[in-house]
């Protein structure tokens, strides 16, 4: 071993070996392009003008996405469990929910939440429950995505071999204990990739909330363009900001996946 490396080192210029194979080339290329784009943007006054106005929309977009996602994860888990249940009522109710929510476009759901559900609920409860604005948007997205996530969870649970449930039950665990300690920990690890994808798509779908007049990133961008007529800088800035957020979220998702696998 030692003799080999000494020989190998003899013909080399650098004192160490560059691991060409393990360099994440896609990240390198992206970083180079990113620096280039960043430089040209930051030195352009038009872009700085657009970005400084439009970046205000980022906070609402992030807020809505994160809250909707967390709610969606819980809703999805509940309905996912109902979808694999033997109980006919649970199964029927959850199947109805999944089919309806996956069958109606998210834009329509959001419009429905904002223009039909919110006023009716307000009337019916005498103003006690007022979803006006951001709550309607969050609920709309969470309820819609919950249906997709329910199916993701279901797929994960069903992919766990029957032997696992049998072993847990034969030890005396009841269904819920088996789910909680044996099945779900494995199932959830398996579905982290699709759940992570859902987060990324949700971030982009959050742009639909502009239709109920909320000042998210897209709405702010459109407002900028409508005032200055600078469509190029305006929409490029919107795209840039969405891309930055999704890349960051992708990175976070990747780390979570890696951590879960080690365990």
């Amino acid at each position: 071993m030692n003799v080999k490396s000494r020989e190998a080192r003899a013909g080399r210029i650098l004192p160490f070996e560059i691991p060409w194979g393990s360099v994440p080339w896609w990240a390198v290329i992206l970083a180079v392009v990113g620096v280039f784009v960043g430089w040209s943007v930051l030195t352009s006054e038009a872009y700085l003008d657009a970005l400084s106005f439009i970046v205000d929309g980022v906070s609402l977009t992030l807020q809505v996405t994160i809250v909707s996602y967390l709610i969606g994860l819980v809703v999805g888990l509940i309905f996912g469990l109902m979808r694999v249940s033997d109980n006919p009522v649970f199964y029927a109710a959850s199947t109805l929910y999944v089919e309806v929510m996956r069958g109606v476009p998210l834009l329509v759901i959001i419009l429905y939440m904002g223009f039909v559900v919110t006023p009716r609920l307000r009337e019916a409860t005498g103003g006690q429950i007022d979803l006006q604005g951001v709550p309607a948007a969050i609920l709309g997205i969470a309820i819609c995505y919950g249906a997709y996530m329910a199916e993701v969870y279901r797929g994960g649970i069903e992919s766990i071999e029957h032997g696992q449930m049998e072993a847990a039950r034969s030890l005396g665990m009841n269904y819920m204990q088996a789910m909680r300690h044996v099945i779900l920990p494995q199932a959830i690890r398996r579905v982290l990739p699709p759940l992570g994808n859902n987060l990324i798509s949700m971030l982009k779908d959050s742009s639909l909330i502009s239709v109920i007049a909320l000042n998210d990133l897209l709405q702010t961008g459109r407002l900028y363009v409508s005032r200055t007529y600078r469509a190029f800088e305006g929409y490029n800035s919107v795209a840039l900001l969405y891309l930055t957020m999704t890349l960051f979220l992708s990175f976070v998702v990747r780390i979570v996946e890696r951590k879960a696998a080690i365990e």
Partner: protein, 245 residues
């Protein structure tokens, strides 16, 4: 040995759709007994075993374990805690270490505290001969080691009965002996065991009685001596001639 059977199987029928897996089987198992079920593949042996702890539900007949009727009991989980089961494919929980595999049910079902559960788990691991592997994950263990963890996991619940469903069929030849030795020790200690297996060496060494199951029916129930020297049934002889070479 007690005179009352601890497992009573009475006129049990079980079908999967058109396939009749178990046809009118009756068998009693007494406390401390080791009963080995043998027979050709597809003969219904595993199905019968799995009916005992209700992993399969029977269509007709009666099964009583430790005084509880399997078909009628309201709390099958409690009954299952008294029956340990070891599977052909081990079925260890891959996301938990060997120790955690063994402590989980103790905590969740027997409600023991963490400390006690761990202590018992360590004892069982030592008993099956792999005390040093407590921290390993199933993926880091060989087949034989995994099966021993599975046996320890079942034993940690301190069950009254142990069921073994072809425990060595999925193991490489050199690991089989290790597992069979553990089972032998268990038998010598007086555990009530019902074992589905092809391992004739084990049958000779440990079995009190042997049941031959073919196409779902009980062909013969006999003792090891009689089985190897002079079985009653023709089908038994046929089966033996096929597997003893």
């Amino acid at each position: 040995m007690n005179n009352e059977p601890i497992i009573t199987v009475e006129n049990v029928y079980k079908s999967f759709g058109h396939v009749k897996a178990v046809v009118d089987v009756s068998l009693d198992v007494y406390p401390g007994e080791v009963v080995v079920i043998i027979g050709p593949s597809g003969g219904g042996k595993s199905t019968l075993l799995r009916c005992i702890n209700k992993l399969e539900t029977i269509d007709k007949g009666r099964i009583v374990v430790d005084g509880h009727s399997i078909t009628e009991t309201k709390n099958i989980n409690k009954v299952r805690a008294e029956i340990g089961m070891v599977f052909q494919l081990f079925n260890l929980f891959p996301h938990l270490t060997a120790l955690e595999n063994i402590t989980l049910a103790q905590r969740v079902v027997r409600k023991r505290n963490e400390k006690k559960a761990k202590q018992i788990a360590h004892e069982q691991l030592v008993k099956v001969g792999i005390g040093d592997k407590w921290d390993s994950y199933p993926s880091q263990l060989s087949g034989g080691q995994q099966q021993r963890v599975a046996i320890a996991r079942a034993l940690a619940m301190e069950p009254k009965i142990m069921l073994f469903d072809e425990p060595t069929s999925a193991l490489d030849p050199e690991m089989i002996k290790g597992v069979l030795d553990v089972m032998l020790d268990l038998a010598r200690e007086g555990m009530t065991m019902v074992v589905v297996s092809h391992e004739m060496g084990f049958v000779r060494a440990a079995a009190d009685r042997i049941a031959l199951l073919d196409h779902g029916s009980l062909v013969e129930v006999t003792t090891p001596e009689k089985l190897f020297t002079d079985p009653d049934e023709e089908r038994t002889r046929e089966f033996l001639s096929q597997i003893l070479h």
